[in-house]
Symmetry: C2
Subunit: 313 residues, 2 copies
């Protein structure tokens, strides 16, 4: 496949799902390899901390979703800087949330994807700032999609509105707060409340990733269905994560086995048992597929859904 180095192939080549995934990942890593550099010796440690977590691997599922929804909505592959910026803004938010989530006052994790967590390497204070700065940079990146292109401003503003709401106190941050509440709860939370927490903590940002691809393509009419896909995928993803935490092994996950169990965390799995958890993970995947049933060229997303249940990292 020689197509990888072009940002917008003139002739559409029919790629397999694996090739398309490879194309997306390649462009994502290429974008990141040259991103957030600060030569100022006085402050460059902060940018190094930001880059450390940005480049510490990960499945890149959020930018992949954004890029594929852009492709579906616009009818063509495009990994130009403008389109990549929409997709990567979501990855910046995701990365900041992992750094802050790993801090001693939150989950206090030493390992993330098999590597030392940000604060383990750079110290708590710099890790805190790296998270803050990545969150801030997500909006710089989005706003820059309209720099020198005033006609792009409306789409840019819609993307910022969508992403900031999904990431804020009614979205992802609210989900983190609810998760904290579970830790001190006397009564185990209901199934419904656990799903609500997953919805905010995980699904909202996945919804934003899907929606933002449509917004970048200015297909605002597709945003609701794309977001519904992300919402359901998030629930399937999170329930699967609970299951993997119990049945997986440390090497595959890159984090200590049973860490949720040790922390006495309430999970959906714990509330309903493994059989129902597997059943509901499959149910939400089907719901996700149904959300985008009317979209053309949805094969890649269908394929990605199926990968979720068999993911090993």
């Amino acid at each position: 496949m020689t197509i990888i180095n072009n940002t917008k192939p003139k002739e559409e080549v029919k790629l397999t799902n694996e090739e398309l995934m490879h194309w997306y990942i390649e462009h994502i890593e290429l974008f990141l390899s040259d991103y957030i550099k600060d030569d100022d010796k006085d402050t460059k440690r902060l940018s190094e901390a930001m880059r450390y977590s940005l480049l510490a691997g990960g499945k890149r599922i959020r930018p992949v979703l954004a890029l594929d929804f852009y492709k579906i909505a616009s009818g063509g592959l495009d990994c130009s800087h403008r389109v990549m910026s929409y997709a990567m803004a979501v990855e910046l938010i995701h990365t900041y949330s992992l750094i802050h989530d790993d801090l001693p006052c939150m989950d206090d994790d030493d390992l993330r994807r098999g590597l030392p967590t940000n604060h383990t390497v750079f110290g708590e204070a710099t890790a805190l700032l790296a998270g803050d700065a990545l969150l801030t940079e997500a909006f710089t990146l989005l706003a820059d999609t309209a720099t020198g292109r005033p006609h792009e401003s409306e789409a840019t503003v819609k993307a910022i509105t969508y992403l900031s709401k999904c990431a804020g106190y009614r979205g992802m941050c609210g989900g983190q707060e609810l998760d904290l509440k579970f830790e001190t709860a006397v009564e185990p939370p209901s199934e419904e409340t656990i799903l609500k927490m997953y919805g905010k903590k995980t699904s909202d940002l996945l919804s934003a990733a899907c929606a933002i691809g449509c917004i970048a393509a200015k297909r605002y009419d597709l945003v609701d269905e794309a977001a519904a896909f992300g919402k359901n995928l998030g629930l399937a993803f999170q329930i699967t994560d609970d299951i993997l935490d119990v049945v997986g092994d440390e090497q595959k996950l890159g984090k200590p086995i049973g860490s949720d169990e040790e922390n006495d965390k309430y999970t959906y799995l714990k509330a309903v048992g493994i059989e129902k958890a597997k059943e509901m993970a499959a149910f939400y995947l089907e719901e996700a597929k149904r959300s985008i049933a009317r979209f053309n060229n949805n094969e890649f997303l269908y394929w990605l859904c199926d990968k979720i249940l068999e993911r090993d990292h």
Copy 2:
């Protein structure tokens, strides 16, 4: 003065500087009193933590600057929701930075403006999230200035670009990192490096406040001068803060006297001595005034500059 309850007086009344300050503060507090409410019992503790710090007093100097630069740039007083949103976005960023700055891994302060700090009341994890959520909400608030008003999108995007850059890793967060670096420095930092830290940590957000007022008024031609005012004011402000830390008293400042000294922090005062520090604070104030010398109706800002050197809280 009956003018206070109107958002846009039809007949311009000549207000004194004190009355104008009162008008701004009144509208700022009014805006905040009804802002960030979450009735969801599962997550409302987060919004309470956000409100706690937003409503914990403070001089509101950043939104006041934004509102006055809007007034100068547009030629009229306006405290409509749109203009207030620009101004308050800067205050949200300022408030988040204080919450994170007070955390145990940063300055570990128990008191802020005479009240227990956010993490003292809500715990470290919720305080961390409250900061994250306030930072995120600043961009929701800005983006909403163009919701249903696509013709406003260009100004909105410019404001988001400006604010996010000033708050990010090359701006305020970079200043915090530099401040951290001082703590472990073997050699005392140079005068120049201390001023660079103040410039990033304090001036950049003040510059953004001034610039954003001009952007809200779509007077992009005034942004550079407004930002230069903010930059110089920030340096004067920070040097004055060093001086107050030594000569002030605990009750007036609402924080333990000599806290910078105890932490062995490097300050400009420590580097140059009190006489030169006073002289340079006055110098930067004069520079600030010079930056806006060609603006009409700059009396309020001149008055505000002079208040800086005599502020007692």
